[in-house]
């Protein structure tokens, strides 16, 4: 059984078919990139996988359970328990420290645990920045806090939306490096990106065009090794 399966998904807004009969499977521990130009349906797909939207038609199976007909409230619970989100704009709560931002995810999930949150920050190399506010962190550091927040509750899937879109090359490398680490630890990664360099480090790249799955590229050279060398 696949961890995530989309079966004949349609998302229709009036005349517009944002997603038009899309089917795909993501296995546990897999690293998948989703690419496509603007208006190709990337965001819509992201919202559906991230349990923030429902398809007009079709089934979304997460761990074998169809979540496509769930209420908004239940979707919130699924999102909280199974999905870790990483955003292009980082979206940290600006009046909470790095540590508190990570603990916020714990707070909604179960119990805040300062020690565990610190460990998560340590994993992204920010243990010494734990008490800093987002405004005192660089873009790359903020994104790493966002990664720590996404992984703190051991989600089934980490869903990243243009995670490197606002980062410079050096920070992009650090984040991709983190993805490698996560992947090696068995985390399932779905990364939506414009950047072919980021896309092609994944095991598989799906290309969307006009709401349809246009191309699927298996990365033959995928080694699971760190590709960027930012040292």
């Amino acid at each position: 059984m696949s961890l995530l399966e989309l079966r004949n998904i349609y998302k229709i807004y009036g005349e517009l078919h944002a997603l038009d009969n899309v089917s795909l499977k993501v296995e546990k521990g897999e690293w998948v990139s989703i690419m496509g130009p603007s208006g190709s349906g990337k965001s819509t797909m992201m919202n559906i996988i991230g349990c923030m939207d429902k398809p007009t038609k079709g089934e979304v199976l997460l761990d074998g359970v169809d979540i496509s007909k769930e209420s908004a409230k239940n979707l919130t619970n699924v999102r909280r328990d199974k999905i870790g989100l990483i955003f292009q704009q980082f979206h940290l709560v600006n009046y909470l420290t790095a540590l508190e931002n990570v603990m916020l995810a714990q707070y909604y999930h179960s119990m805040p645990d300062e020690k565990e949150a610190l460990e998560a920050l340590d994993r992204v190399g920010l243990a010494d920045r734990a008490k800093h506010l987002p405004s005192q962190l660089s873009g790359g550091e903020q994104q790493r806090v966002c990664v720590a927040r996404a992984l703190i509750n051991y989600p089934e899937i980490i869903l990243a939306d243009e995670p490197t879109g606002n980062l410079d090359e050096a920070n992009e490398a650090i984040v991709v490096d983190l993805f490698h680490k996560l992947h090696n630890e068995g985390t399932t990664l779905i990364v939506v990106t414009h950047d072919p360099e980021v896309a092609e480090v994944a095991q598989r790249t799906l290309v969307l065009r006009s709401g349809k799955l246009a191309k699927e590229v298996i990365n033959e050279n995928f080694t699971g090794q760190i590709k960027f060398d930012h040292e």
């Binding site: 923030m52 619970n77 909470l96 916020l104 909604y108 119990m111 805040p112």
Partner: protein
Amino acid sequence: MKKRKMFLRMITASLMRRRSRMLVALLSIAIGATVLSGLVTIYYDVPRQMGAQFRNYGANMIFTAADEDFTYDDVEKGISQIDSGDIVGVAPYRYETVRIRETPVVAAGTNMEGAKATSPFWSVDGQWCSAPEEMLIGASIAEKYRLSVGDTVEVTYTPEEEAEDGEVTVDNFILFTVTGILDTGGSEEDYIYMSLDDLETLTGTGGNIDVAELSISASADALTSYMNKINQNVGAVNARLVKRVTASETTVLSKLQALVLLVTVVVLALTMICVATTMTAVVAERRKEIGLRKAIGASDKSIITEFMGESMLLGLLGGIIGSVLGFIFAQQVSINVFSSSISFRPLLVPVTILVSIAVTGLSSLMPVRSATDVDPALVLKGE
């Protein structure tokens, strides 16, 4: 870490680290709480303050004899039934017909300090008399006898006892100095005023008085209960209220209190609108944060709880500040309007804080509720 601890940590962080934003909200809440607690303090203090003002209109209770004998001791028994703090002044009066230049005049013996307190509207040209053999004379008397301040005049009294065995009745007389001329616009101008002791010396009889005027600072109800208590417990005294004064006091007071109440209600309504507007703005600018919280798994309920927690904490702070400033505000108003200080009401502190929390909470409930409609997908993509 307990969830509650994290909750408190979040809401305090939101207030402390977003100081400039929160200061505006806090200011509007604190001003509202200040005006509210100030006006309520004034509302409750108005009767006391105005009671003191009304004492300018003179006595509001009269003691007369219940039977033949009525002495100053009886008056003191009556006074003992009244809270000493409420008594503004007591003036006993004894009236006798005396003669000046062989024409009859009514002389009133009284206690000058008491008369001054019970009749503050009396206007004296010259000085109140303070020593023996000094007197005040009414303006009509002064005109009739062409007397002015500093003049001396002989006052004669003929004792009532029948002359026995054909003895000639001897007139008593005292030479008085006029210290002041009394101008009241009323019948007092036809009298002469001297101390009770002088009148007793002049007449050669002492003890009895005719009437005592009391000025008491109390509400109409309290006055009635004092009156009943005195009539019940002090047999020699017949106490009654000066209706003309007490009734008008009650009318003016109730109108004034109604006015202050109206202003308080209007201000409270305006404050609520102001706080609601501020809270709406505070919530609106945090839509993205709400979207983010929802995206990482916050339920609507926990978002409402967090925002309500924040606004109630703001309400608490605003209420505390308002209680302090409100008292200062009421004090200033009292000093400027009534020229007296105001009494602190401890109960008003928790009431102000609770009202402030309730108003802030209620006025944030609506914008927070609508904020939970934010689509969590809002935070994806560069919106």
